[in-house]
Symmetry: C2
């Protein structure tokens, strides 16, 4: 009898409601740049990252706990916050021992949706911690939902590519009867050799948006595998290292 | 100055609301099997096809106009209707000169959504009429929305592949700044040589569902390019040949 857990991929927050995630680990995926930045901050010694869904809540909470307020709207630092959503803003020399209060356009929104839908567990995935995510999912032996944050609910290439990278590595351990997962895997197969080149060639919409802000360095970092290997898990309102 | 029209792809009806389609031709795509069957019925001489969104409406209208009631729910003939959703049920000897009243799980639902959202024009696309669809879209020189009917709002491979086939053929004529379109094109690039083999290899969920009903012949037909070249357009409540 086949007892493998199941794996699904939701390509957009607007599709998450189609799936029952109450028995699943939900992997929040927002490659450019929320989940890459969260893994980096924790890897560099941040005590925790608190994801909040609005700028006003970010400011309020930042004051209360003396945390660092950070976040973006439409790819730029949101008004009233001190820092943005670039992994390069959070080196060890700055972030070690501190708490980051973060709000982003898509990633933190999806995390709160997963919470409301009663996800069994929530973890953070990015190319920066790909191996840790895959190892954890195999080890846990639970159902998995790969949740792409997308861009304002529109499917994007970079989050889909990450889902494909995870599936490529762990598929033998899961039952995958989900066309979105097959789609992601196929896309990754084509792009794996040169992720940056693939986004550029296809003029991926968010790649384009960030390039307009001179953020090529950020994009290249966010597409690098295993340069911030930690596993952020959501516990009691905070993302902390597992 | 670049005056090309724009092209977008909506991978699921649950994503259609993200786009303004009031100035667009919407291509309804439901490869297995609604749009393949509609093109086939019209190619074989049906006077028109009336898409309705419920079984009860199908029965009622069928009586009123002495039409042929047909449709499926979950891949099988719906109770109370005379025929199903297989293209092989509608040869010329049977369907010529008749009106088909059709309701299906996903395709007719998407068509009614596109109507409600004020689509400028609605046409029907399938591999069976790929060339006619592409020629029409190039000739029209209007904005295009490729609307995948999906499966109960879950993205599927076969509709995405068809979007990719269209994009591959017509992309020089459009501005495409849409990651879903790039995704579809990439998928089609991988699968184009053997569409049936690709669905089989990936155990596409609807492929699987139909194979369980012994419908391999239907699937192979629905993946054959240009075997029913007509252009169904929606006018005054009916799908007719352009």
């Amino acid at each position: 009898m086949d007892k493998k857990p199941v794996l699904f991929t939701s390509l957009s927050p607007a599709l998450l409601h189609l799936y029952d995630i109450s028995n699943s680990i939900v992997v929040i995926i927002d490659i450019l740049r929320a989940t890459s930045t969260i893994t980096t901050a924790l890897y560099n010694g941040a005590k925790s990252v608190i994801p909040v869904d609005s700028v006003s809540r970010c400011i309020e909470l930042g004051k209360q706990i003396d945390g660092i307020t950070a976040g973006e709207r439409d790819g730029q630092i949101a008004e009233g916050l001190s820092y943005g959503n670039s992994p390069f803003e959070y080196p060890e020399s700055f972030i070690k021992g501190k708490t980051l209060v973060l709000t982003t356009t898509n990633g933190t929104k999806l995390l709160h949706m997963a919470l409301e839908k009663g996800a069994n567990e929530i973890i953070i995935g990015a190319f920066t911690n790909l191996s840790f995510v895959c190892d954890y999912l195999i080890r846990s032996n639970k159902n998995v939902m790969l949740g792409c944050a997308a861009w304002k609910d529109r499917v994007n290439l970079e989050d889909t590519l990450f889902a494909g990278a995870v599936i490529t590595r762990i598929k033998e351990h899961f039952n995958i009867s989900c066309d979105s997962s097959h789609l992601a895997e196929s896309l990754y197969r084509e792009a794996a050799g040169d992720l940056f080149g693939f986004l550029k060639k296809n003029d991926a919409s968010h790649y384009h948006r960030l390039m307009n802000f001179n953020l090529e360095k950020d994009i290249r970092y966010c597409l690098t595998i295993d340069n911030a290997n930690v596993l952020p898990v959501y516990r009691n309102g905070r993302l902390v290292k597992e």
